[in-house]
């Protein structure tokens, strides 16, 4: 079995090396340089954190932090690996493209499992190499600890991924027995996005809950000593990374009895748990894999189909371009990983909106504008800061919505994926196809823009004219920028993705960002001219609003049309290679 495992691992590494070797020189150099740069940055940051923790130890010598800090570090790294280990195990154990070949090859089935599992642990070791290793070494140097500490750091880090990898594999095996692996992957992607949204919301609301956590009032300085004492309470929990942390600290301080007790506990628990997980998972692997080969719907039936036949809906009567839109709206939320890409900014959007509108100081009382001025729509023109709030809100709504729907526009052609041939072989003109794609992003954009702008106007009491002007600006600029993104989605469209999170090409992303920045400055700049006049010569504002709206529309429309035409021109050859 071991020789088979080694053979499979070496073949895998050979494939990886060949993949790298056959890339262009520029790609190879940029990959190496990029990896060094990112790796170097993370390593440097991790070392800084390790060093900083060492300073904390010196700052609070009475708090007995020596055992807690390395353990805390290892716990964080373990959690990080644990979060990724389920997805990695799912991908390598059930969803790799070579599984059919390997499972039917005359090699030990356990070798297939073990090689896939070890292969899946490589990313964990990369994380450890750039985070745990530099931080623990920097921490040890700061404490002036001896060579035994560094030796045990190496051993600890070699063993560290065993626990999360074993647990991840076991969970995957159990889940694969009850649900199809591909669906699990989608749900996992969705859960990952939810986790990201959760972290984002926690970050956004930290000023409310952190003081409660440390037992102080909002705005008060947290009591660090109390916080340390609270955290120290969990240091004695017998989980592997905390055991290892106590062992490492004992090695550094030369305390042999706690060293032997903690470290042997760590090794026994981690390696034992790993062996147990491997043994259990191996028994479940074949059954899960076989189940994956035969997934279908057991509820098929004539009546069910007859009911579906009676529900043609809009898709049954839409013109061709709108059928493209309707198809996109169906496909997008059904792939949870794809939907998750939009969900994160969508979930953060209301919070950002309320922070933006609610956080701005209320100037109505001092400036004389606002709700009370609705009788005269131009009354609030003298309120320069109130107008600035309107611009701020409008710009915020525009940017936030572009963040959500820009991706939809940027990936509008890539979204077709391997089914691109269906659309390309269909009797659709380039204009129809791109228009359908544009509408996919434009309609939800317009709906949300209306909701947010009307809400802001009611909440903050914008004058009716300024509200209309701001709304027009957001819609006109937004639609223009979306059209630019749709046009730029064509030439660099990616069709060979399996994971929808990888459908956006770097080129489309960069060129769209640059084009948006330039067009946003031009179109948005023109729209802001009446605001300047508001302070300088308020009588001209009304006329200039009309002039600037027309001028900005002409500029934005011309640029957007140019990009749209550019995309139409590229459609006939895209996806040929």
């Amino acid at each position: 079995m071991l020789s088979d495992t080694w053979l499979l691992l070496s073949l895998r590494w050979h494939v990886l090396w060949n993949t790298f070797r056959h890339r262009s020189t520029v790609t190879k150099i940029s990959t190496v340089l990029g990896s060094l740069l990112i790796g170097g940055f993370v390593t440097f940051t991790a070392a800084g954190i390790g060093w900083g923790l060492g300073l904390l130890l010196h700052q609070y010598p009475d708090r007995d932090l020596a055992a807690l800090l390395p353990g805390g570090l290892l716990t964080v790294i373990t959690l990080l690996i644990l979060l990724s280990s389920f997805g990695v195990a799912l991908g390598s154990l059930f969803l790799s493209s070579d599984l059919e070949l390997l499972m039917s090859a005359p090699v030990d089935r356990r070798a297939v499992f073990l090689s896939k599992m070890l292969d899946g642990m490589l990313p964990s070791y990369t994380i450890i190499l750039v985070t745990a290793l530099p931080s623990l070494i920097a921490f040890g140097i700061g404490q002036n600890w001896g060579p035994l500490y560094y030796l045990l750091v190496l051993l600890t880090l070699i063993v560290l991924p065993f626990f999360p990898a074993g647990l991840g594999s076991l969970l995957v095996m159990l889940v694969a027995r009850v649900a199809p692996a591909r669906r699990v992957r989608e749900i996992l992607g969705f859960a990952g996005a939810l986790f990201g949204v959760g972290c984002g919301l926690l970050g956004q609301t930290s000023r409310f809950w952190i003081p409660n956590l440390v037992g102080g009032a909002v705005g008060a300085q947290p009591d660090v000593k109390a916080l340390i004492d609270d955290v120290r309470g969990i240091a004695n929990v017998p989980v592997p990374p905390l055991l290892a942390g106590r062992g490492l600290a004992s090695a550094g301080l030369g305390d042999w009895v706690p060293l032997v007790a903690s470290y042997s506990g760590y090794l026994l628990f981690t390696v034992g748990f790993f062996v147990l997980c491997v043994w259990l998972a191996d028994r479940l692997y074949a059954a899960g894999w076989v189940r994956m080969q035969s997934s279908g719907n057991s509820k098929r039936g004539r009546e069910r189909s007859a009911r579906a036949a009676a529900r043609a809906g809009w898709l049954g009567r839409a013109p061709a371009w709108f059928a493209i839109t309707l198809k996109d709206w169906r496909v997008l939320p059904r792939d949870l990983r794809n939907f998750a890409q939009m969900l994160a900014p969508l979930a953060l959007l209301p919070f950002a909106f309320f922070s933006l509108v609610g956080g701005f100081s209320d100037t109505r009382a001092t400036q004389g504008g606002g709700r009370g001025s609705r009788g005269n729509p131009f009354e609030s023109f003298g309120a320069a800061s109130h107008s600035a709030l309107g611009v701020f809100v409008a710009a915020g709504v525009l940017v936030a919505l572009l963040f959500v729907f820009g991706r939809l526009a940027e990936t509008s052609i890539s979204m077709e994926g391997k089914s691109w041939w269906l659309t390309k072989a269909a009797p659709l003109s380039p204009a129809e196809l791109l228009f359908g794609k544009f509408v996919s992003a434009a309609i939800p954009f317009v709906m949300l823009a209306l909701i947010f702008m009307i809400s802001a106007a009611i909440w903050r009491g914008f004058s009716f004219v300024w509200f209309l002007y701001g709304l027009y600006g957001v819609l006109m600029l937004g639609l223009g920028l979306l059209a630019v993104a749709v046009g730029l989605s064509v030439p660099w469209a990616k069709f060979d993705w399996d994971d929808p999170r990888r459908m956006l090409s770097v080129q489309t992303s960069i060129y769209t960002l640059i084009s948006w920045f330039v067009l946003g400055l031009m179109g948005g700049g023109i729209l802001c001219i009446p605001l300047l006049l508001d302070a300088l010569n308020p009588e001209l504002v009304g006329v200039m609003m009309v002039v600037c709206a027309v001028l900005s529309t002409v500029v934005t429309g011309a640029v957007a049309y140019g990009f749209f035409r550019f995309g139409m021109g590229k459609l006939s050859t895209v996806g040929e290679n």
């Binding site: 591909r182 279908g296 069910r304 061709a320 059904r334 072989a425 269909a426 009797p427």
Partner: protein, 272 residues
């Protein structure tokens, strides 16, 4: 019937059949290169309405590339092609309205149900709603997909997806059908169904050009066979014409003799 030597291959004239109107499919000097690699050298062909033509050739001969150029999926390096008289490059929308296409790997939208997929295809091809609904139901029953039609396409087997792709290609009752390896992955019953379907289409005046490696299907079903090798048409004609030129050999013998595979057959005999 023509069996061509290497000099003659370069310039095969397009055949126009008098009295039958425009050819259903015609191509003149189609060429496709990828850098220095020539995938298709010089494809000239003309296929009548009501004709089934088999497109044969070894792996990598240029069959799929040719089909992809004829359907507008690939832009030719040189040459032109017409479907029912409409140029596929310059009048692509009209040309594409005339045909249905099923590739060798039916990558469909996995997150659409069978019903939704057929409705989507019907809208792309501008089939009136009432007609589309009726035809979708008929096709689903014909291909025994009716019960599975409310499910997502991703839950279908390869054969079911192949049949769903064919149903999508037939939803607008095309005058021309391009099929790339249509029987791969199908059970014998479904393969037989497709053969019967192609015969019906021919009887109704549709033209069918399909690539296949199963010579028995080509021999039994095709009015004409085109054999391509290294990007060139090396033989073209009815089975009778091919046999007349090559003696009473089977299509397999003819195929091997014109594609240079005969020596492999001899080698296989020696190895026995």
């Amino acid at each position: 019937m023509t069996l061509l030597n290497s000099e003659q291959r370069a310039d095969v004239p397009a055949i126009n059949v008098p009295g039958m109107g425009v050819p259903a499919i015609s191509a003149q000097g189609l060429r496709k290169t990828y850098g220095e690699h020539v995938a298709v050298t010089n494809l000239n062909l003309s296929i009548r309405q009501g004709e089934i033509v088999g497109f044969l050739g070894p792996n990598g001969a240029g069959k799929t590339t040719s089909l992809r150029m004829l359907t507008g999926l690939l832009k030719p390096t040189a040459g032109s092609a017409q479907i029912m008289g409409y140029d596929i490059e310059h009048n692509s929308v009209e040309a594409k309205k005339q045909f249905g296409y099923v590739p060798d790997t039916p990558n469909l939208y996995g997150k659409l149900s069978g019903w939704e997929f057929l409705r989507f295809m019907a809208r792309l091809y501008r089939v009136p709603q009432e007609q589309a609904e009726r035809r979708a139901g008929e096709l689903l029953r014909l291909f025994e997909l009716y019960d599975a039609a409310p499910d997502m396409v991703e839950s279908y087997s390869h054969g079911m997806q192949q049949k769903m792709a064919l149903a999508g290609a037939l939803i607008h009752d095309p005058k021309v059908l391009f099929l790339d390896e249509p029987t791969v992955g199908l059970d014998p019953r479904s393969a037989r169904l497709i053969k019967d379907l192609l015969s019906q289409l021919r009887d109704r005046g549709s033209a069918v050009l399909f690539s296949t490696h199963i010579l028995e299907i080509a021999e039994r079903m095709c009015d004409r066979v085109i054999i391509i090798n290294n990007g060139d048409i090396v033989a073209s004609g009815t089975m009778a014409e091919l046999r007349h030129m090559r003696g009473e050999g089977s299509l397999e013998d003819i195929f091997l003799s014109v594609t240079g595979g005969a020596e492999y057959a001899e080698l296989a005999d020696i190895l026995k």
